[in-house]
């Protein structure tokens, strides 16, 4: 149903890389399906479809701990759990809201390479039109936990999502407190849902 619309331009360099590539391509296939059926599914349908894929593809527990940065030390385990749950919901809602239409875009897998500490970088490109200068590079950093490859960072056109979020959320915690961050995340989830 999703269609094999992601294209492998090169073979992975090892079997491990191949497993990591498969995780990224599975995510892309799910996103493409949402894009191609955006209006039919609506926000809730897209969210419900992408939620299991996001939870499976991303190491959200690790990402949530990372983006809290040094502020994590001052939070209770309950607060950290609360943040992880809200962050997971936010991530799912964000992907459901962002990938909400189709204009013949293509995800192309370019290469994969091993990185330090056993991680893998899968390099892909989102082709938005015929002008290659408009391509959006999407590099995924994956690590293996409990025998599964999971994404821990997305670098879009050279900008690390992990770094952006850690800086942004850290600024909110520093100036307004942890509860304010939770409130803002929940508010954005509501805005994604209502399309505002």
């Amino acid at each position: 149903m999703a269609g094999v619309l992601t294209v492998c331009a090169t073979l992975p360099s090892s079997a491990q890389d191949g497993d990591a590539v498969a995780v990224v391509e599975s995510l892309h296939a799910a996103l493409l399906h949402n894009m191609q059926n955006a209006d039919t599914l609506g926000f809730e349908g897209r969210r419900d479809r992408i939620a299991p894929v996001i939870k499976e593809s991303f190491d959200l527990k690790f990402i949530a701990r990372f983006v809290l940065g040094r502020h994590r030390e001052s939070l209770s385990s309950g607060q950290q759990r609360e943040f992880r749950d809200v962050f997971t919901n936010w991530t799912i809602a964000n992907y459901a809201a962002r990938f909400n239409g189709y204009a013949s875009e293509r995800f192309v897998t370019v290469s994969s390479e091993e990185a330090r500490k056993g991680r893998v970088v899968v390099r892909t490109v989102l082709e938005v039109n015929d002008d290659r200068a408009d391509d959006v590079t999407l590099d995924y950093l994956l690590r293996q936990t409990v025998g599964k490859w999971r994404i821990i960072n997305v670098i879009a056109k050279g900008v690390s999502d992990l770094s952006l979020k850690r800086a942004d959320y850290g600024a909110v915690i520093k100036s307004q407190g942890f509860n304010s961050l939770i409130e803002k995340l929940n508010q954005q989830i509501g805005e994604f849902d209502s399309g505002t």
């Binding site: 690790f62 701990r65 990372f66 964000n94 990185a115 330090r116 500490k117 970088v121 002008d131 290659r132 200068a133 590079t137 950093l141 690590r143 821990i152 960072n153 670098i155 056109k157 050279g158 900008v159 690390s160 992990l162 770094s163 952006l164 850690r166 800086a167 942004d168 959320y169 600024a171 909110v172 520093k174 100036s175 961050l181 803002k184 954005q188 805005e191």
Partner: protein, 261 residues
């Protein structure tokens, strides 16, 4: 006349900067200053100033510009990319990328001649890829430290290093050879609107998801500069922090297993 235009442009920017400084108060930042952004109060006030200009003047014009046919906008963008190409060529050479400098020279010649002053990108489809270099990147390749993050009035996010490079970028562009002030400022205006229109998706993402738009802009800018300096292959960020977190996770796991046993 070109010197007058050159001088007048710098005077215009300096006056704008003075207005910006006079019109904004000191922004107080709660908590300790960020050691990675020691000029944060000043930068935030400049960010607010620039954001005001963008929302009130540039963004509405860019939104109207986006209604033009994509082909037309693409041609205009190609023209300005080509116009800035001598800067790229010079800096490829200065960075020791001689082969790329030759390729980019050919690109510039092809597009200027057969591509009608660059409106049509003839070179891209024949394999001469587009590159983007400037003096700030050259200084980085030469090992000159980045310096503090700096937000300038009108010019926006910079580093100390890229700020020093900016005047050199300006004098290396054919735009400065235009004698007529009206033509010069018209082209500058169209270039600004075209750039703003192309940034519209990124700015929309920032406005819809960032809780602190200044922080978002700062981090995105610094990372994109790193990406440019390393020609699209920057070192993976936050590696040490990732390693530390994984070690911490492993320790917790071992402790938990120790407790269970």
């Amino acid at each position: 006349m070109a010197k007058t235009i050159f001088g007048s442009r710098f005077c215009a920017l300096a006056l704008l900067g003075l207005f910006a400084l006079a019109g904004t108060g000191c922004v107080s930042i709660p908590g300790e200053p960020d050691p990675n952004d020691p000029w944060e109060p000043f930068n935030r006030s400049m960010y607010d100033f620039n954001d005001g200009i963008d929302k009130d003047i540039i963004a509405p014009i860019a939104d109207a510009y986006l209604k033009l046919p994509p082909g037309g906008r693409g041609a205009i963008h190609n023209f300005f990319v080509n116009l800035g190409y001598p800067t790229t060529i010079i800096n490829q050479f200065l960075q020791g990328k001689f082969e790329r400098s030759m390729e980019d020279t050919m690109r510039f010649i092809f597009n200027t001649t057969f591509g009608l002053l660059g409106f049509i990108d003839i070179a891209g489809p024949v394999g001469l890829a587009r590159h983007n270099e400037d003096f700030g990147q050259t200084f980085a390749v030469w090992g000159i430290p980045q310096g503090n993050f700096l937000t300038l009035p009108v010019l926006g996010p910079q580093t100390v290093r890229s700020t020093v490079g900016w005047p050199l970028d300006f004098v290396s562009k054919p735009l400065r050879w235009i004698d007529t002030p009206g033509e010069f400022w018209f082209l500058v205006g169209v270039n600004v609107v075209d750039t703003r229109a192309r940034l519209a998706p990124a700015i929309r993402l920032r406005d819809e998801t960032a809780f602190d738009p200044y922080i978002f802009t700062r981090e995105a800018f610094l990372q994109q500069r790193l990406n440019l300096i390393h020609d699209g292959n920057p070192p993976v960020q936050d590696l040490e922090d990732l390693d530390l977190l994984e070690e911490e996770e492993l320790l917790e796991q071992e402790e938990a297993e120790g407790k269970i046993q």
